[in-house]
């Protein structure tokens, strides 16, 4: 790694700490920076500020940053895999699958009784939806010859789920539709330590898989055929990529709803700022940039029109799209 890359990592890490403090400090109740650190370090939960931080802001912002990490890495994996720069974590229909299942629960009322038993009904159903789409893709992945076919199948799955969802919307009650629409836009509000621990626990398992992916992922930069001649086990690699990327984006979607743009844009920001396509560097780089950006976006989502909270997807898109266009105008769009 070069000095430039090390200093970039350092800079993004400092930004991470700053954004973390900022997000904990500001909100409908402002808490000064100094006090924030005191409360966090001494685990002070008794005061009002203490309970706001420990019960609301800290789990929320940590969850948000983990979402940013997962979505960015999911997008990176799929961009390299499909050798296509405009691919994101939701391109394979993962979010559509999740949305369809959520629509079935929220709009059609299917399984609503279970919610008494399982407090995470929406999250579980969203995750099941993502998982189903992923399973179909994994099953098909060893059957289809070219990766492009797989990409198209993913897109078609998305359209199919979307079609069923829209039918459900037409027949649903008005009040329910608004709730469903807001869910679709994504939000980190109401996240507690429970959600955070589930997401980080599942994430650790996935991250272990990620360590073994860096090498074949780099070989894939030359295309599938070259990768094959260099000894990459294509079938296993396809399954691993689809599983890991879908699981990463599926977990996030399950708790926060689909978050647009992050997975597509962050890998580009990482590539252009670190000046490399080496996935050994891009995986950690996308992770830290993803965390930074999503925290910044959540900050604006909460504070811009406080006390009304904006959907996270709206902010990510408004902020990110122009940045990406700017970056890409300078250099060509690359994988």
């Amino acid at each position: 790694m070069k000095i430039r890359q090390i200093s970039l990592f350092l800079a993004f890490f400092i930004a991470f700490l700053f954004l973390l403090t900022l997000n904990i400090s500001l909100g409908s109740v402002s808490i000064p920076f100094k006090k924030v650190w005191e409360i966090v370090f001494f685990h002070e939960t008794t005061s009002t500020s203490g309970s706001i931080i420990w019960q609301i802001r800290l789990p929320r912002i940590l969850f948000a940053s983990i979402s940013g990490i997962y979505l960015s890495i999911s997008g990176l994996l799929l961009q390299v895999f499909f050798r296509n720069p405009i691919v994101g974590p939701y391109v394979l229909g993962i979010s559509s699958g999740a949305t369809l299942m959520v629509a079935l629960v929220m709009l059609a009322g299917i399984g609503i009784n279970i919610s008494l038993v399982c407090p995470f009904l929406l999250s579980v159903s969203a995750f099941v939806g993502a998982l189903l789409v992923m399973l179909i893709l994994v099953l098909l992945s060893s059957k289809v010859k070219s990766i492009e076919t797989l990409l198209i199948i993913g897109l078609m799955m998305g359209y199919l789920c979307y079609a069923v969802t829209s039918i459900l919307v037409v027949f649903a009650q008005k009040e329910k539709v608004k709730g469903f629409f807001l869910w679709q836009m994504g939000s980190f509000s109401g996240i507690t330590w429970k959600e955070f621990s589930i997401v980080s626990f599942l994430g650790i398992a996935i991250f272990i898989g990620l360590f073994f992916l860096k090498k074949p992922l780099n070989a894939f930069l030359l295309g599938e055929e070259y990768a094959k001649t260099m000894g990459v086990n294509i079938k296993a690699f396809r399954i691993l990529i689809i599983t890991i990327s879908s699981a990463l984006s599926g977990i996030v979607t399950a708790f926060s709803g689909p978050v647009a743009f992050i997975g597509l844009a962050i890998p580009h920001m990482a590539r252009l700022s670190f000046g490399t396509s080496d996935n050994g560097i891009l995986i950690p780089a996308s992770a830290i940039i993803g965390a930074d950006v999503i925290m910044l976006c959540d900050f604006f989502a909460r504070n811009l029109f406080s006390p009304i909270e904006l959907p996270i997807s709206a902010i990510t898109a408004i902020f990110g799209a122009p940045i990406v266009i700017g970056l890409l105008l300078k250099k060509r769009m690359i994988i």
Binding site: L221, G231, T276
Partner: protein, 396 residues
């Protein structure tokens, strides 16, 4: 030489469609094999099957005595590397990083490069003369520089065999020569077997130890090019009606569709002086008759490949009366006559008779030599248009 690959009753193709069948060949260590044949004859399919990118439809391939399908992908990657026609686009990778991907089969689970790996990468870069590209982005390089790195990546894989599909496609002359020289050096000095499809048949014949001629779903013939290639073979291979390849010169001449349909002209040639005149005038649509040239003359070979009408003489013999008469008949019919400036010696003195005849018959006669030189052999040179006129000028 030691045998490295053995191919038995191999059929290659996609799905149920057989492209080339019944291949039985041996490949020796350090051999340079060129696959030639028309577009769509199956060269790429053969290369992809040998490198196990696609499975054989029937038959088997043995490498070092072991059947290809029984080897693991990693074992195969250590034995053979492949350079495809499809040009990779690795994004923001630098030359060194690009070549280092070739170490894939040797590195650990995390892809870390050992000292040996790094040495091999630098050696590969040195072999293709691309050390200076190691710190530049792949995307910023020219086609020729990229191809060097692509080759270096294959070399870094430390293989016994490299399969290449059209390695010189889209390259300029200099890059082409560099790439071919590297391949030649790999086979001669490093003992790496090279199996490559090459579209330029003249180059293929000059560089390879063995050629495989591929056509109509089979290997037409295989062997040393000097032994199995002649004009007939090339015509058969590419389905040409007329000769445009010369196996002595290993040269290809362009047969233009309008050749020989225009006004007739007569070129008195010899010792290569005729060749540029043929080429300049054939483009302008003239029907060219040339003579009197000996069959061992370079002008004869070129004229033959261009498909001209030739009045010829047996090698090393004096020009005969009847040849002169035949030539005079043609001169009478020709629009004009060109004296190419051929060297005059005892065997081709007869050609001077043709010049003298043309003067006497008041034919329009161009000469590409000095007047004084001609006057040594004859009394007058009246009416001859000498070098002042540029025969190669389009306006002429």
């Amino acid at each position: 030489m030691q045998k490295i690959i053995e191919i038995k009753n191999l059929s290659v193709g996609y799905g149920r469609k057989v492209v080339v069948s019944n291949i039985n060949q041996q490949i020796l260590r350090g051999q340079f094999i060129a696959l030639i044949g028309p577009n769509g004859s199956g060269k790429t399919t053969i290369l992809k099957t040998l490198s196990r990118l696609i499975s054989p439809l029937a038959g088997s391939v043995y490498i070092d005595g072991k059947e290809l399908i029984n080897l693991s992908s990693n074992e195969i990657a250590k034995k053979m590397a492949t350079v495809l026609t499809e040009r990779p686009n690795p994004g923001l990778l630098k030359g060194y990083e690009f070549v280092s991907l070739g170490r894939y089969p040797y590195t650990d689970l995390f892809g870390r490069l050992s000292k040996e790996d790094k040495d091999k990468i630098y050696e590969a870069l040195r072999l293709v003369h691309a050390e200076h590209l190691s710190n530049r982005y792949f995307g910023e390089l020219s086609d020729g520089e990229r191809q060097k790195l692509i080759l270096a990546r294959a070399i870094a894989q430390d293989p016994d065999v490299i399969f290449l599909d059209e390695p010189t496609l889209h390259l300029d002359l200099k890059s082409k020569m560099e790439i071919l020289n590297i391949l030649y050096m790999l086979s001669r000095k490093k003992g790496i077997t090279i199996v490559s499809s090459i579209h330029d048949i003249d180059i293929a014949l000059k560089i390879s130890d063995t050629v495989w001629l591929i056509k109509d779903g089979r290997i037409l013939d295989a062997g040393p090019p000097e032994k199995i290639i002649d004009e007939k073979r090339i015509n058969e291979l590419y389905g040409l009606k007329e000769v445009c390849f010369n196996s002595i010169l290993c040269n290809i001449e362009l047969r233009l569709s309008e050749n020989g349909s225009g006004r007739p002209i007569f070129v008195i040639a010899g010792a290569g002086k005729g060749a540029p005149i043929y080429r300049a005038h054939i483009k302008r649509g003239y029907r060219i008759i040339t003579g009197i040239v000996h069959e061992n003359d370079i002008d004869y070979q070129i004229a033959k490949t261009l498909g001209l009408e030739i009045i010829s003489e047996k090698p090393f013999s004096r020009i005969k009366e009847e040849s002169i008469k035949k030539a005079i008949d043609y001169i009478n019919k020709a629009d004009f006559v060109i004296d190419s400036g051929f060297p005059i010696g005892s065997e081709n003195m007869g050609n001077l008779m043709l010049i003298k005849y043309a003067i006497k018959a008041k034919k329009k006669l161009f000469s590409l030599r000095k007047k004084e030189e001609l006057l040594k052999y004859m009394d007058n040179a009246d009416g001859i248009i000498f070098e002042k006129v540029d025969l190669f000028d389009q306006n002429c």
